[in-house]
Subunit: 462 residues, 2 copies
Amino acid sequence: MMQTKLLLTVSIILNIVFTIRILYYSSGTWDPTWTNKAAAEAETAASVSCSGHGRAYVDGLGVLDGQEPPCECNNCYTGKDCSVLLKDCPVDANSGDPLFLEPFWMREAESSAVLVSGWHRMSYSYQDKTFLSRELEKVIRKLHIVVGNAVTDNRFVIFGCGSTQLLAAAVHALSLTNSSVSSPARLLTSIPYYAMYKDQAEFFDSEHLKFEGDASAWKQSERNDNMTQVIEIVTSPNNPDGKLKRAVLNGPNVKTIHDHAYYWPYFSAITHPVDEDLSLFSLSKTTGHAGSRFGWGLVKDKAVYEKMNRYIRLTSMGVSKDTQLHVLKLLKVMVSDGGGEIFHFGYGTMKKRWETLNKIFSMSTRFSLQTIKPEYCYYFKKVKDFTPSYAWVKCERPEDTNCYEIFRAAKITGREGNVFGSDERFVRLSLIRSQDDFDHLIAMLKKLVSQEDVPSENFHVI
Amino acid sequence: MMQTKLLLTVSIILNIVFTIRILYYSSGTWDPTWTNKAAAEAETAASVSCSGHGRAYVDGLGVLDGQEPPCECNNCYTGKDCSVLLKDCPVDANSGDPLFLEPFWMREAESSAVLVSGWHRMSYSYQDKTFLSRELEKVIRKLHIVVGNAVTDNRFVIFGCGSTQLLAAAVHALSLTNSSVSSPARLLTSIPYYAMYKDQAEFFDSEHLKFEGDASAWKQSERNDNMTQVIEIVTSPNNPDGKLKRAVLNGPNVKTIHDHAYYWPYFSAITHPVDEDLSLFSLSKTTGHAGSRFGWGLVKDKAVYEKMNRYIRLTSMGVSKDTQLHVLKLLKVMVSDGGGEIFHFGYGTMKKRWETLNKIFSMSTRFSLQTIKPEYCYYFKKVKDFTPSYAWVKCERPEDTNCYEIFRAAKITGREGNVFGSDERFVRLSLIRSQDDFDHLIAMLKKLVSQEDVPSENFHVI
């Protein structure tokens, strides 16, 4: 009898606990309703195993037909779960796909996820009638303060569909500044340069602007008459070679665009906060989200800012509100702890990659890497190793005139030196891609360098 | 004793039920983990009460500082919960903000929500190396089949940051087609026209293109020499007047861009599937998501498609992957039930709005509305009322030379007739905005029309 009573008491207590639990969970702060399905879809995609050599996305092929999102394998991996490594597969070291930061965002899954409702900001503009989220502007200013890489006081902030769009907007705005002058403005930069500058200028083929190439050559040429309107693009750190750069030209006829896409602690020492009239930044090299097509500019002059704004309005009516929401979330994570986490993670990855790379190239006499002396970084508060995004490789042997082809024959696809206005003796290798791509690159480089002792076939023939 | 035993049995059964319930819920198909926070944030924002006269968004002002997303009130409403109607507040009937579809997406909250992970498609391109989601392309083709408004066979599909970007891309691509011809191509359209055509052409001020205005005037002018390269933009249904249009010009020197942004069953009878060389569509007028900046084009000619693609690549490197994901989800909802739901909802709203509007204007002799005969709609399989997005209002009194100002004095902000290349005697009133804006517009219109019997002040003076 005592036993039965005890059992009953325990059982009733358990029932009370269960009931409280149910009541608590269903009347708590949040009982998921309409977000359930979207969350479940995202978790399902995230849980698809791709052997660590691929990813499944919620918008993968076949999802419309109700299929599970399939694995999208990294380069050189194949199979349903990306477990098969292809033999003799050429390594892709071409584009600057910033996948080296992907593991960070996977780790920050919870804080970086965002749920977009079906009725999220359907209007053309925000409540203040602009195309620009004020919260996003705020977090961008905060990020620059945290990193100490740019002065944002007395600057207008402008958003674009990638810094690509902002670059076109800036060049357009500055080329219009003196519409009374009949001869076109000249677009100049320093060799080696990011090909987009030339490609845009030549494609738009405006009567107001001509691409002229190297700024130093222009400075020394007769055509430098201090009258012709000139726009110089200063890329610092430079793409492809990672060097910190200063403007070559100055004078009342010179306007300068500072492309600071790579001025983040992953790639460069932060030597000072830049304080320019017009500087551009890219989300791609800030958080690693190249696919989101988001960039921003800091603009001092109101007239230039308004011309750029008009360009953005007439070419896309601003940037997608979905994207602005996503970017806000990502940058919020970056600034939440003083940016420490992601910069330590990203720099750590780059440092390791450069150590591996330097070791290989130190064994080579055939190939050389760009060098820069380490500088004091005010962000990390120490002298920082040189860890740029790309290896700018020179083929040193006289007969290796086309470096890109030498690497291509060794199954390494880089980017040709002449794309950057430079010599074919150079090739750019991207170091910011996925770990798989980097590991693969290293394996192929080792093989290539190890063959240096063996006389080349050409040598045999001679 | 029997009672105690019975109680014990019941209690134990309850215990078992509770235990099963807990086991079931925690080992079920899905136990939310990393998506929890994002989902909770979205639900919190959605649950903020704004008295039905505003909305709170997850990226509202102050959220960075940990505040709850604030209400963003509809025009003329104010207060913390948007419950206060401002007195003498001018109604906004200017822009084509397609908020009339917002209630549909709120109803479809579950099926239209999407959760974007922090590592969603960070790469520049999709796996097939393009900037274009194949699933999204598939659902766009399906949508056109479901609605029957466009032939997509043998067409390339191209995406842009709004049809705005595609329009610039198309004009650019077509103006380049004959680079050997020295005189610039002429851009023509029909009055009244969407101002963006003129604004873009004049802003880019290309040596390859000049905006020339009315196509009919050109056709009859001496300059129509059948040699000069001509690009005609045909907007059908037309913005601002909603009329179905055909090309005015033809000949080997004529290229045509068909802007079909408004060719959806909300606004127009679907009389046939359009089957053109180059047609453009806009998400803004398809789902109502103007803020997402997404448009697409259907292009027959490969060379034109490639030129447009190059334009998109050099101005933005494609469209944000976050946006493409969101659009995929929205269009999936649209096609899931043959598009019936949203088109019935949207057309129903427009029909009701036009009935109200027609009633008011039928009492006026001072103002007249555009008229078009109802046509058979192959989508709804019946003759459909004329329900265009905008009222194209004419001021009939001789002294009312500036119609925009007449309405502005009556606290109704429309868009000036001369913006559309037309007479100042016309004003465009947007009918696709939020229900609050429409209700407010109706109230003000009633007041304006009811004053017609009273002689105007001008009349008094004379």
